[in-house]
């Protein structure tokens, strides 16, 4: 392999979305090599992959592919050049046949009519190439299990004259035998000289299948190492980075009794067996990789998704929460990650949005309503022209404050925040952090899910780490480090 020709060379790759997400990334891939890419949330892995397969434009830097400058404007163009990505989320169209899914962009046709016999034949060949002769190309793809659907997608990728294959967490949905088969196929492709970029959280798999591994952190490529010369612990240390000395000091807040107790919560396959307590006046952080079940935990506690098992106690009393209305009744409020989709009435005024959960019944009382809205928007310093301004016209930070104001107006004492500062600028972020501290100071119990470790470490009194649907670590100020938290975040994926 070391002697094999260079397939892909990336130098000085840059990308900014308000903040830099890729900074001068240099990366190389040889023909027949499997190069693993690891990193925590927001490290820049997906952006890097998206640029390579034409889904995102770069801001700067050089990419050369098979010795030629490479700058795909669309996914189609990248595929024509031989770069194909298999996304983590399944993109199989269930109603179409397996064969149609594999060749969706390139159906064999004559005069606009699909040549089904030829399509079946091509599909059968593509599947047998992956050693999946048992799959009937004529059957609807939706009838296959998730693992087989993933393999069908990979077959589709390979059918496109692929020279460089990008796999993003390809084993997330696969069973052990399916993983074995995937690895066999990866090795076969390697032998054919195909280069593979393998994005994964799973250290063991990387050790099994990859030749080299690169670590991304905060948009920078920190290190590239040969897989057999590096331990998982070393990789985790690289991903975590160094601790800033002023972080991690103990808070001076005093906590009251337990406000929310969650026991053995299970929901939707993503959260399994989750238990935790939050006290009044406490900010509890929920860390972990994206997809580790943090959001699902909050949504299940709040009743937004069904619980398969588990108990929720508020003020030490068992409560039955089957719908968000039950949660709100016992004083729990959720500030969801996608506030435009799940929280705000964008076309409606700040007043209407603030008071929505606090209206009671019967007649509206315009004077009381305006007073309530004014009280809480002023307290949270929402910046708006008037209470009648549409919430859709406000900035992200102010929109977030309106959602929080809604729960304060309803007098919720337990607040569940899912990525509270996503999509807000730096100044607004500080303001929201300050606000969360004040809420805790007022005796509210806060649970904060965040993908930014820095945010959690500066905000929280305690951090729980979730990994693969379970809690794998609990840390207090003073004993937490980026490395310990990162290690816990990967722990659930290692078995």
């Amino acid at each position: 392999m070391p002697g094999a020709p260079l397939l892909l060379q990336v130098t000085g790759l840059r990308k900014n979305y308000n903040v830099p997400v890729l900074r001068d990334v240099c990366f190389e891939l040889r023909a027949g090599e499997v190069h693993a890419l690891v990193g925590g949330n927001g490290a820049g892995k997906s952006t890097f992959a998206r640029i390579l397969c034409g889904l995102t434009e770069r801001d700067g830097g050089e990419i050369s592919f098979r010795g030629q400058p490479y700058l795909p404007a669309t996914k189609r163009e990248a595929e024509r050049a031989g770069v194909v990505m298999v996304l983590q989320e399944l993109n199989v169209i269930g109603a179409l046949s397996v064969a149609e899914n594999i060749f969706l962009n390139d159906l064999p046709q004559r005069g606009g009519f699909v040549r089904f016999a030829k399509l079946q034949e091509k599909a059968r060949r593509a599947l047998s190439h992956l050693g999946m002769e048992e799959i009937d190309p004529a059957q609807p793809a939706g009838r296959l299990g998730v693992g087989h659907q993933q393999l069908v997608e990979i077959a589709g990728a390979l059918a496109k004259n692929c020279q460089l294959l990008i796999l993003d967490e390809p084993t997330a949905a696969l069973t052990v035998p399916e993983i074995e088969r995937l690895f066999e196929n990866i090795r076969r492709l390697q032998a054919e000289g195909v280069g593979i970029i393998y994005v994964s959280h799973r250290m063991e798999e990387i050790r099994q299948v990859a030749n080299r591994v690169s670590v991304l952190r905060d948009g920078q490529l920190i290190a590239t190492r040969a897989v057999d010369e590096v331990t998982a612990a070393e990789l985790i240390r690289e991903m975590a980075g160094h601790d800033l000395p002023e972080r991690g000091k103990a808070r001076e807040r005093s906590h009251g009794p337990v406000a929310l107790r969650v026991r053995n919560l299970r929901s939707g396959g993503r959260a399994r067996q989750v238990s935790f307590d939050v006290r009044r006046g406490e900010i509890l952080g929920l860390s972990g990789l994206i997809g580790s079940g943090r959001t699902e935990t909050l949504r299940a506690v709040f009743g937004a998704d069904a619980k398969e098992a588990g108990e929720v106690f508020v003020d030490e009393t068992l409560v039955m929460i089957r719908a968000p209305s039950d949660a709100v009744r016992v004083g729990i409020g959720l500030i969801p990650e996608d506030r435009k989709q799940d929280a705000l009435l964008l076309s409606q005024s700040v007043r209407v949005n603030t008071t929505l959960s606090a209206l009671g019944g019967g007649w509206l009382n315009p004077r009381a309503e305006t007073a309530t809205a004014a009280q809480f928007t002023q307290r949270l310093q929402v910046r708006c022209h008037s209470l009648e301004q549409a919430v859709g016209e406000l900035s992200g930070g102010n929109q977030q404050k309106v959602v929080i104001a809604r729960w304060l107006a309803r007098d919720c004492r337990i607040l569940l925040f899912d990525e509270p500062t996503r999509g807000v600028d730096v100044a607004a972020k500080d303001a929201i952090h300050q606000l969360l501290r004040e809420l805790a100071g007022d005796g509210k119990a806060l649970v904060v899910v965040s993908s930014e470790l820095t945010e959690l470490m500066s905000l929280c009194d305690r951090i729980l780490v979730m990994s693969a649907g379970q809690i794998t670590g609990e840390f207090r100020p003073g004993d937490w480090t980026r490395e310990k938290i990162t290690d816990a975040a990967f722990r659930g994926y290692s078995s």
């Binding site: 989709q341 929280a343 076309s347 009671g360 007649w363 509206l364 315009p366």
Partner: protein, 316 residues
Amino acid sequence: MTFNPKKVAEYAAMAVIWLGLVLLFGMLSHNFLSARTFAALANRIPALVVISAGMTLVLIVGGIDLSVGSIMGLSGSVMGAAMMDYHLPLFVGILLGLAVGLVAGAINGSISVCFAIPSFIVTLGMLEVARGLAYLTTHSQTKYIGGAVEGLSGPIPGLGISPAFFISALVIVAGQVVLSRTVFGRYLIAIGANESAVRLAGINPKPAKIAVFTLLGFLSGVAGVFYTSRLGSSDPNAGVGLELSAIAAVVIGGTSLMGGRGSVVNTFFGVLIIATLEAGLAQVGASEPAKRVITGAVIVVAVLLDAWRRSSRISL
């Protein structure tokens, strides 16, 4: 009670458009501008007015109801059958007609909400079912009732306008009050704006959605009673195609088909505009096909104007 100046301005704008239409026909035809024209207009629209008022609320929550005309026909038929075949008194006949509408609306709402089926489909089914039931109850015949029934839609002596018109105007006022002054009305607008957000705000949107369909079914029953009383007989064909007039009136009044925005008062003006257009075109001698072409074009132009007005306001 305080008045929202923005809302008053919108009502005024709709009123001006209607008055413009009236003046236009007044110029085109000598005898259009007379008390008789307006009395006739007022006595023709009550059924459409009450249905359109309910339809406004259904559109605001993001639903639609295609079965209103059939439900109107069914409740008139039930009323006629009750009085003529079973010799029940008038008020029992009216109550049965209203009850049938209420039940049909409740079925529409419950099926669409509880099984998450688009209301378009559910009410399309109800359009056929209710019409079929109307034919079955009447054996496809118009039943003459006469006498007592006609009081509701006959002009009040000395006034020239029927009690039905005043009732329908009352329904409009009540509908607007519910929409803009009650928590229920606020929830309707919120559901239409973002149902998922409403649920996550701790409000169960289902009862409110079922309630508006039930209310519209009931109002379709009221329309059936009005229509029967105007004809003096129950007609299983009553209200054929009325759903389209109602939706057109609501949309001309500026209510969004996507939900989240609307006004019952402006729907009333929408009904006036459609009815005036019809009456005026008839008086200037337009043929039936020409009337349809013009009415259709006016609906589209009204919605275009509304969309343009809104987009220009937002860009300001």
